[in-house]
Symmetry: C2
């Protein structure tokens, strides 16, 4: 019997607004022992303590030496300084996150925005593998994203870029949760699907959506998607409307970046071609012809593990080997 050789590992952490997920990931992308905790409503010190516990739990089960830890964070990161520049979901604004976690864990730490981590996962190992120019659009509660151009991640001068959810797509649109207004994520996120479903419920009180609303159910993107998969026409139309707007933002991105592939991730991917079909149709008819013919628009390969696999990939790439 030959003894298995212990593989080098890193810990990938996907820190979300409501939960934190970590796992040991080996160089072959094997994911070992996922650990999970709630992340919401904690003061800073407790949040960092809980993260440290989570990482050590994953590290204890790692099948080889742990080289370091990568964190994907739903925040704008100043990478040159290792600081969280803006954090709408967690009390991390202004926090020297990289240094604090490295100290607590006594391990090397790298950090990045969660959208960038997801892009990195899809670019190195998923549907954007081998592309010199690619985009990730994460359609969840909001819209996140990541960008590859000239075979490199594009993060901008202070590492805060790729906030594609905060493109203006409507000059007279409503305020965003950021200081802007008329932004992409208002029109094309999972929440937008819920809102389109609510509008349909109010227009047609006798419809499935109307009856659900009357019965006190919240009309969420997930519910509309469920109804649409069951064949409800109003729900299908609501998703198609949001898909068209998702496509309008893609028109901008295709004309700017001329990418080979746009990977679509996040919870709203559950709507499948009900969402992506109308989006592709808008790109096909409205993007500049020589560029639309160069791009594939496809669901991301990694689902719920995308964030932690991306964070782990970042750690493998940026931390020195032992």
């Amino acid at each position: 019997m030959v003894a298995a050789v212990a593989a080098n590992c890193v810990i990938g952490v996907d820190l979300g607004g409501t939960k934190m997920l970590a796992a040991a990931v080996d160089e072959s992308l094997g994911v070992h022992h996922r650990a999970q905790r709630p992340s919401g409503d904690l003061p800073l010190a407790e949040l960092l303590d809980r993260l440290a516990e989570l990482v050590e739990e994953a590290a204890a089960e790692a099948p080889g030496e742990v080289l370091g830890v990568g964190f994907g964070i739903p925040a704008i990161i100043n990478r040159p300084e290792g600081i969280v520049a803006a954090s709408p979901h967690l009390p991390l604004e202004g926090v020297r996150f990289q240094a604090l976690m490295a100290e607590r864990l006594d391990r090397p730490v790298v950090i990045d925005n969660d959208g960038n981590c997801t892009m990195l996962a899809e670019w190195r190992h998923g549907v954007a593998r081998g592309a010199s120019d690619a985009l990730m659009i994460t359609v969840g509660t909001g819209i996140g994203g990541g960008i590859v151009a000239n075979g490199e991640m594009v993060r901008g001068s202070t590492g805060g870029g790729a906030e594609i959810g905060h493109m203006v797509i409507d000059i007279d649109g409503p305020p965003c949760r950021c200081p802007g207004h008329g932004h992409y994520e208002w029109y094309a996120s999972g929440r937008a699907i819920g809102r389109a479903g609510e509008d349909a419920a109010e227009r047609n009180p006798d419809s499935a959506l109307g009856q659900a609303q009357a019965a006190g159910q919240e009309i969420t993107g997930a519910l509309v998607t469920e109804f649409a998969h069951d064949g409800d026409e109003d729900s299908i139309a609501a998703i198609a409307l949001v898909g068209e707007r998702l496509g309008l933002g893609m028109v901008s991105l295709v004309n700017i970046f001329n990418p080979e592939v746009i990977a679509i991730g996040g919870g709203a991917v559950a709507a499948g071609d009900l969402l992506l079909g109308p989006a592709r149709e808008v790109v096909e008819t409205q993007a500049l012809p020589s560029m639309r013919s160069a791009v594939r628009i496809v669901p991301a390969e990694f689902g719920a593990d995308a964030g932690l696999i991306g964070a782990a990939t970042l750690a493998f790439e940026e931390l020195p080997p032992k």
Copy 2:
């Protein structure tokens, strides 16, 4: 007396929709003997012949050996193939421009989009010098542009990218001259200033703009700018409206690229801070705070020579030295 050493030169060509401009440019960026011809309304063979004449005229006056020729073209270029993919202004669509001109001239030739050439000029030698992340917005009849990220020009997978004039900024906006609608250049170009001036003329027939229109003058961006510099309030307001919309597109670009500098060129720069003041104000209040504080929004350094200097810079960088 010491003989001057002949400097290596290239020929930079700025091919526009109405005129073509060429000059010999030396390595110190000295511009020698500008030659110019009309470019509009020519069949392809005559257009190429005239370009060849123009280049040879400039080459004849060059103070040193001519290493090759760079062309900036108002078109979408497929750089890997050296083909013009789309050309709204000149009969170049599908033309193997690079190979044809190299053959006609018997000299090495490089080609790029005109917006990219302008970006290159500003990045290597102008207001974006030294930046790792920068943008060029050329506000003329339409809007052109160029992008630098991670210290490299961003042209996309087939070289057609950086078409920032064709970002969607209004989901219900009017058709563009491309297949899309609601695009940035409709709202924020020199032509948009003219349209805003026309609207003002119709609202106030007794105003300076109204009287000019009644007298048969065409209300162009240039005329509105002239009136605004003379203190006409309607003209100032028309430029401010377009400046705000110019700013809304910059909000998208700042949130996506997190650039250090945005250089503004093109004819509309004549409006100066009447245009850029309102644009900066929108960025200052609506872009993501950690990114807006990182960016300078400044007029481009090169004026009418930007295109040919950029084309010459491209030739120096991409052609092999002799």
